[in-house]
């Protein structure tokens, strides 16, 4: 049996979910026997591959770039897993929603700037007015809440998904876990 192609993606989040994923430690080797990591912030590939079996997505959709990415990921992935609270609820990135992005940018780049106060307008993508969880843009197959989901959660969930076993997510994790 050929290995499953696994991708991990980092949208608007803190990378904590990726850290927790890496906290699987030696169990990563076990995982590596059944999956190939074909795309991830921790590998070199720059373009999202055409065919992916499992995509783990961390982070909320907060910019036009995120929106473009998540649609592409969905189009090229058999199974899409929302990883962590940002991807599922918006979490901390969505805390700007009640006041809007303008106020946030103003505080970050104008009020608190020690020199050359200006809001960046090139290279960085434009922000969406409202930060939203990924399932508001694309269909999500599995939700793994937690901030971050623990390494054990990753291990149990991925093992079950790869082997097609039963999976009770609520027994493993919750919002804010």
């Amino acid at each position: 049996m050929s290995k499953l192609k696994l991708a991990t993606v980092w949208l608007d989040g803190c990378s904590g979910c990726h850290m927790s994923f890496l906290d699987m430690d030696e169990r990563l080797l076990e995982l590596a026997e059944v999956v190939d990591v074909v795309y991830s912030p921790i590998v070199d590939t720059k373009e999202f591959p055409d065919e992916v079996d499992i995509a783990l997505v961390e982070g909320a959709v907060a910019s036009v770039d995120d929106e473009k990415k998540i649609k592409k990921i969905r189009d090229h992935s058999k199974m899409l897993i929302a990883m962590g609270d940002c991807a599922i609820t918006g979490n901390v990135p969505a805390m700007r929603n009640p006041i809007g992005p303008e106020a946030i940018l103003d505080r970050a780049y104008i009020q608190n700037a020690s020199a050359q106060a200006q809001i960046p307008c090139v290279v960085v993508p434009k922000l969406l007015k409202v930060v939203r969880p990924i399932h508001e843009f694309v269909k999500v197959d599995v939700f793994l809440p937690g901030c971050p989901p623990s390494a054990d959660t990753f291990h149990t969930a991925l093992t079950a998904l790869v082997n097609g076993g039963p999976l009770d997510i609520s027994a493993l994790t919750r919002f804010g876990a």
């Binding site: 929106e67 303008e102 434009k126 922000l127 969406l128 007015k129 508001e136």
Partner: protein, 549 residues
Amino acid sequence: MTIEELEQIAKNVQQENAKYDFEVNVCMDLACASQGAGALKDALEKAAEAAGKKVLVRRTGCMGPCSHGPLVRVDPEATLYHHVKAENAPSIVYGLGGSPVPELQCDLNDHFDKQVRVVLENAGLIDPEKVDDYIAHDGYKALLTVLTEMTPNGVVHRITESGLRGRGGGGYPTGLKWGTVAKAKGDVKYVVCNGDEGDPGAFMDRSVMEGDPHRVIEGMAIAAYAVGASKGFIYVRAEYPVAVSRLTTALREARRHGLLGNNICNTPFNFDVEIRLGAGAFVCGEETALIASIEGKRGTPKPRPPYPASSGLWGKPTLINNVETYANIAPIVRNGGKWFHDMGSERSKGTKVFALTGKIANTGLVEVPMGIKLREIIEDIGGGVPGGHKFKAVQTGGPSGGCIPEEMLDVGVSYDALVKMGSIMGSGGMIVMDDTSCMVNVARFFIEFCMTESCGKCIPCRAGTAQMFTLLTRICNGTGTIDDLALLEDLCVTVKETSLCGLGQTAPNPVLSTLKYFRNEYIEHILDKHCRAGVCQMAAVESKNEVMA
């Protein structure tokens, strides 16, 4: 006050009226008054004096076809004039006893012929501020008969026999409710009249309270005798200042005549009524919220049981009925339960007052026997949809009701039939819509109403209506998806089945009924970004997530 004294007053009024050769009744209800009926009445009085004719010019309550106002009816000829202006007064007076003024004459035979007036029997005939006028039309006869000739049980029995069901919307059998309160243990009991009519497009109760206030008071007094109460409250919304002032006058007059107070008609029966004003919350039309509001608390509903019949105002057994229900009591007592029972359909007896509004020729108040076809109400009585437009739906029951399409119009109106069609009787609002109405937008309008009127106590109604509004807004502006539609339907079921009170339980009805009969309009909004009625503005961007500037 004794029956003899009552009859003497009636005789006096008749003798007084006999001094005049003509009676000119001017409708001074809100719709007519806002078009200058006040000035018209003054002009008619002046013209009569100038012409030297013996004319009694009388202010009356609502005559019914409001869109034809200001309305004037001349007796004994029974000529109805519409769209009358003050400058028409001399020609009307000139025509008295001779030939009527043709250009003002109005032919509403179809409109009136199919109506049966019980609640509105005095509409257009009496001056609402004169108790003697009411007495001259058999007013308070029922109360005095009850006090002198009937036992409380007998009264309950007569109401039960009539088959009257609550006119506030629920349709609970009135006799059964009275019987429960009568049997409830307790030396202090209350009767409450629910006049917190808040449905958009409904004004039946306002018209009754403004046009014939004594009828409500008499009904309450009879109820109080039947259940053993000596104190009543009328809860009226403060947005009805005329109703409040008419009721205040009526209560004062009734007390002056000894029709309220202690030892009414020389019997041991004591009864008085207080008016309480609602502060603009729709939910206070729900009985437990209304009770909380009368008690001076925040107007939020409570889980039932206990029902008000066993534990209501200040924990005492309380009878709550709607204005129209009380307005039916006196005629039932006078004419007997069987008389009422003979009118109407299998399980809905008597008549029902409807407020016809929307895209219909004869907007206004109508009273029809139960069981009449919706088509007869809309096409014959209402005069159909004007302006060459096509009928699309009729919305009954206010924000808690549903939209009924053309193909269901031949169903007879009854509590059960309306529920079967996904709507409710409600208090009697009837809003007619034509092809210029978008049904998704209509559903959104009613959900917005329920959202802003939700008291916020229970979660499904508070947050559910807000979410439904968001989803409907998305569908209306073309950013909704098929998933949103599925979510909306899911929410409808939860809000309907889990909300605490009637407001939440019925809030999804406009959505559910439009989804049932006009689903294709939802689909067109979602897939084709098209609103066939041209009402909804489609958003310029397809993404629901706007990019910041």
